[in-house]
Symmetry: C2
Subunit: 241 residues, 2 copies
C-alpha cells in the first residue's frame, strides 16, 4: 500500500508551500499595482505638473498606499479566511443536525443528488443507505454536492494573511525604489517601469510554478494587467495637466 | 418530492446574487482602502506640507489609484476565476483518465479515503465498487476528498470581474468626494472620514447579509480594518513632515 499512500500524498494534495505561494502571487501583484499607479499617475502629470505637485508626493503617496493597503490586504486575507472556516463549520454542523433529526428526508435528498450525478437508482439507494449509517461522511457529501463548499479547515488564516502582507510590501516597494535613488523625472520613470516589469515577470513565473497553467499565459497575463493599470494611471495624470 | 426540491434549491445553494454580493463587498472594501490611504496620508502630512505637495495631489493620486487599482482588481478577479475553472477541469480530466486507465488502483485509493472519513471497511468496499462503475461520480469524489477542490465551473468570471470593478469604483470614490466640493483642509478630511465610515458600515451590513456571521463582527471588522489602514497612512504622512 506504500505506493498508494505516496501517490495520494505526493501527486495530489496541494502542499502548504503552494498555498502560501498563492498568497505571495496575489499579494505581490496588488502591491505592485498600488505603487505603480502612483508612479505612473505622477509621470502622466508631466514635468510642468511635477513642479506643482512636488516630487516628494510620489514617495509620500507611494509609501502611504503601500503600507496602508498592504495592512488592509493582509488583515482582510486573515479575516476572510478565518470567517470562511467559521461559515464552513457552522454550515456543516447544521447539515449534521439535519441528518440526525431527519435522516429519511436527507436520505431521499442524497438519492436525488446521486441520480443527478448520473448514478443508477439502485446504486444511489445503496450509497444513500450507507451514508445514513455514517452521518459524518454524509455531512461531507452534502457540503460538496448540495452546498458546494470546499473544506477550508486545514488552512492557516494568520499565515495566509502574513504571506499576503509581506509579499505586498516587498513587491510593492519595487516601483518606488528608483524614486529614492534618482531625481523624480522621466528617466526615473523609465527605470521604474523596467524594474516593475521584471517584478511582474517574477510573479508570473511564481504563478506558473503553483498552477498547472501555461508559462506564456501566467507571465503574459501578469505583465499585461500591470501594464494596463499603469496606462490607466498615466492617463489620469495626463488629464490633470 | 416538491418539498425536497424546494428545500434543496432554497435552503442551501448559494444564489448568484449572493455570489456577486461577495465580489461587491471585497471590491468595495479594496476601493475604499485605496483612496482613503491617499486622503489620510495627505492629512497626516499636514498644512505646511500641503502647501508643498499641493491639494490637487489628493485628486490626482486618488483618482489614479482608484481607476488603475480598480481595473487591476476587476481584471485580476476575472482572470483568476477563469484560470481556477481551467485548473479544475484539467485536474478532473486527469482524475477521470486515471480512473479509466487504472480502475483497481483508484478503487483501492477510494476505499482508503472512505476509511479515513470513518466508514467501516465493508461500507467503504461497497461504495468504492459502485464508484468504479460510475467514473464521472468517482472523479467528483476524488476532487473533493483526494484533491480538495470545490467545483467553480458554474461561476461567471466576467461577471465576477465586473462586479468587483464597479463596486471598487463606486465605494472607492466616497473618500474623495469631499475634496471635489471643499478646499483640501482639516475640515475636509473630517468630512471624508465620516463619509468613509458610513461607506464601510454599508459594506459591513452587506457582508452580514451574505454570510451567516454576526452583525457586530461583520460591521466591526470592516470598519476596524478601514480605520487601521487610515491610521497607518496618516502615520506615513506625519513621518514626511
Amino acid at each position: 500500500m506504500t505506493n498508494l499512500y505516496e501517490h495520494m500524498r505526493d501527486e495530489h494534495k496541494i502542499s502548504p508551500a503552494q498555498e502560501y505561494l498563492r498568497q505571495i502571487v496575489y499579494g505581490g501583484n496588488d502591491g505592485i499595482v498600488t505603487t505603480f499607479a502612483v508612479v505612473a499617475g505622477f509621470a502622466g502629470f508631466g514635468a510642468e505638473g511635477a513642479a506643482e505637485v512636488g516630487a516628494i508626493a510620489v514617495l509620500l503617496f507611494g509609501l502611504a498606499n503601500l503600507l496602508a493597503d498592504g495592512t488592509a490586504m493582509g488583515l482582510g486575507e486573515f479575516l476572510s479566511a478565518r470567517s470562511e472556516q467559521d461559515v464552513y463549520r457552522a454550515t456543516r454542523a447544521k447539515e449534521l443536525h439535519e441528518i440526525q433529526t431527519n435522516p429519511e428526508f436527507e436520505r431521499l435528498e442524497t438519492v436525488e443528488l446521486l441520480k443527478d450525478r448520473g448514478l443508477p437508482s439502485e446504486d444511489a439507494e445503496t450509497m444513500a443507505n450507507i451514508m445514513v449509517r455514517n452521518p459524518e461522511y454524509m455531512a461531507d457529501f452534502m457540503m460538496q454536492h448540495e452546498i458546494g463548499m470546499a473544506d477550508p479547515t486545514n488552512e492557516h488564516p494568520a499565515l495566509n494573511g502574513l504571506a499576503t502582507f509581506v509579499s505586498f510590501l516587498l513587491f510593492g516597494f519595487v516601483p518606488l525604489i528608483p524614486y529614492f535613488l534618482l531625481p523624480a523625472g522621466p528617466d526615473t520613470f523609465v527605470v521604474s517601469v523596467i524594474a516593475t516589469g521584471l517584478a511582474l515577470t517574477t510573479l508570473g513565473l511564481l504563478r506558473w510554478r503553483v498552477t498547472t497553467e501555461g508559462l506564456l499565459r501566467c507571465v503574459g497575463e501578469t505583465v499585461l494587467v500591470g501594464g494596463i493599470c499603469a496606462f490607466v494611471a498615466f492617463g489620469v495624470g495626463l488629464a490633470f495637466r
